[in-house]
Symmetry: C2
Subunit: 322 residues, 2 copies
């Protein structure tokens, strides 16, 4: 459990100056085709339009902007094969500092190449993610660098700026559906939305094939669970304590959807919005289609958290749904 | 030949107030993966992020904002199965007026549904586009409405705002590659870029399977040509005189690329940017890959004009390149 204070709306508002120094607000578009399918007024928050294709970059640039020159001198360190790693690589690049990112042996070559293309040093270490993570934490300490965990409060402050954009662009929003991986997105969204308007309902979404965060939230315990989803952005095996504490305070509901429904939602997103959503990004649509009665006639925002799906996965999904 | 004055940079600057009342600036992102492929510093201008998935909506909302209440009273009329039709439907919707759009019998049901979902009345008339167009022009006159042609100067003024964003976000741009359909995008881009900095090179791109605009520009005559491209956004059979006159004054070069190369570029865009580009939107990447020597080391912007590719086409392209 983190002993850091939970970020507030005020922290998110303060983060905007940092975030908008490097990034623009993303689009919130209404989609008549999705609205018809769900039976509600459906908007999509397009975090897939971010420069590294995912919302996390908001947290990364805010962190890099807030740290002092001394804190940044040793560079940023993290362990990630996904959007968090790309976010930290991007943040380091815009601040002109070094990022060192540990990945397990055999990590996805495409994702490694993407982080290297952003200027990060990628180091293969250990057989699994936990080994890589422990090692890089040691490296950060030894080299007086700054290790950045995926759910740090400062990242949540930056990420919250997308939720603030939703509340400004659609003040009449009723329900926001957010995919949950480590939890920074859903925490940021619920802090911002519930503080501005407690009547707004925030619903987390995870895959039934990787329900650790959902089971933990539901039970009030930190529960490890199976992790067999294809959707990397919401593939969490061990729950994160500091986001769980925030979710317990702010989150209204947390639902599971099957991987098969998420894949179908990827196709529906392409068809009706012409946007490529990664599995995590499409999960809110899958959830909305399961919750049609509850959402009927409401103003619903689906947070498309990112679009980083590999070509091979996309090709397989499209072939399977032909 | 239009007798309207050619739009100027000043007209485009004036159009911003109208455009930004309804739309946000779109992203201009650098892509290291594309840069490596082309051997230049490659940025993508993401007009596919617009609400109707294409740049034309900038012209539509500017037109609707500039017309007086009297001029708008009879509604907007046009003939289009593509991005122009969706743009006019969107513009009418945001101004709260009616759009009537004629399409030939047998028009793509998906596109008809998209225009209807935006509130437009879609009328099937005639066996081909020319018949539909002549009919709707008569209807507009009879009903005292405003017919909107696809290359009107007022549309070019609105469209030019994306070029202004490019020049502001990347003042060191050397070359801008723009797909050419009716020509509003390439005219707007070259007016803006060449007026701000005559050293910027603007290159038009069309399919070798539909080269009417390119042949016309090259020969100085209005030349009709075959139209067999899969890329609807650049499928022009009969050239447009009023955009040709602007292109002759401002455009630096105009190249053709094969449909097969455009399809490959759609796949490369997905792989390296995670964005769905329609054929027209991917054509600049195909051209850049053909012009590697000329672009070497330069700052190159690819205008992804839109992302409205049908699921069937995407599925076929991905299956063919597996």
């Amino acid at each position: 459990m983190s002993d850091q204070p939970i970020p507030t709306l005020r922290d998110v508002i303060a983060a905007r100056a940092n975030v908008y120094r490097y990034l623009r607000p993303t689009a919130l578009h209404p989609y008549p085709g999705l609205s018809k399918l769900v039976g509600a007024n459906v908007w999509v928050k397009h975090e897939n339009h971010q420069p590294v294709g995912a919302f996390k970059v908001r947290g990364g640039v805010h962190l890099a902007a807030r740290l002092s020159t001394e804190e940044l001198a040793g560079g940023l360190f993290t362990a990630s094969t996904g959007n968090h790693g790309q976010s930290i690589a991007y943040a380091a690049k815009v601040r002109g500092i070094k990022a060192t990112i540990a990945v397990p042996e055999g990590a996805n070559p495409g994702k490694v190449a993407a982080m290297r293309a952003l200027g990060a040093e990628v180091v293969f270490h250990g057989a699994d993610f936990d080994t890589a993570r422990e090692w890089i934490m040691g490296e950060a300490e030894a080299r007086r660098g700054r290790f950045v965990g995926p759910t740090e409060e400062i990242l949540i402050e930056g990420v919250g700026t997308y939720a603030l954009e939703i509340m400004e662009d659609l003040p009449t929003v009723d329900t926001i559906l957010v995919p949950v991986g480590a939890g920074s997105g859903v925490c940021a969204t619920s802090i911002v939305a519930k503080t501005i308007n407690p009547k707004v309902e925030v619903i987390g979404v995870q895959s039934a094939q990787a329900p650790a965060m959902q089971k933990s939230w539901q039970s009030g315990q930190l529960v490890t669970a199976e992790m067999n989803t294809f959707a990397e952005g919401i593939a969490t095996r061990v729950p994160f304590a500091n986001t769980q504490r925030i979710m317990r305070k702010y989150l209204d509901d947390f639902v599971l959807v099957d991987d098969s429904a998420i894949k179908q939602a990827v196709v529906l997103m392409l068809e009706h919005t012409r946007n490529l959503a990664e599995g995590a990004g499409a999960a809110p649509l899958a959830a909305a289609l399961n919750l049609k009665e509850r959402l009927a006639g409401k103003n619903v925002v689906l947070v498309v958290s990112g679009g980083n799906m590999s070509l091979d996965k996309l090709r397989a999904i499209l072939a399977a749904t032909a």
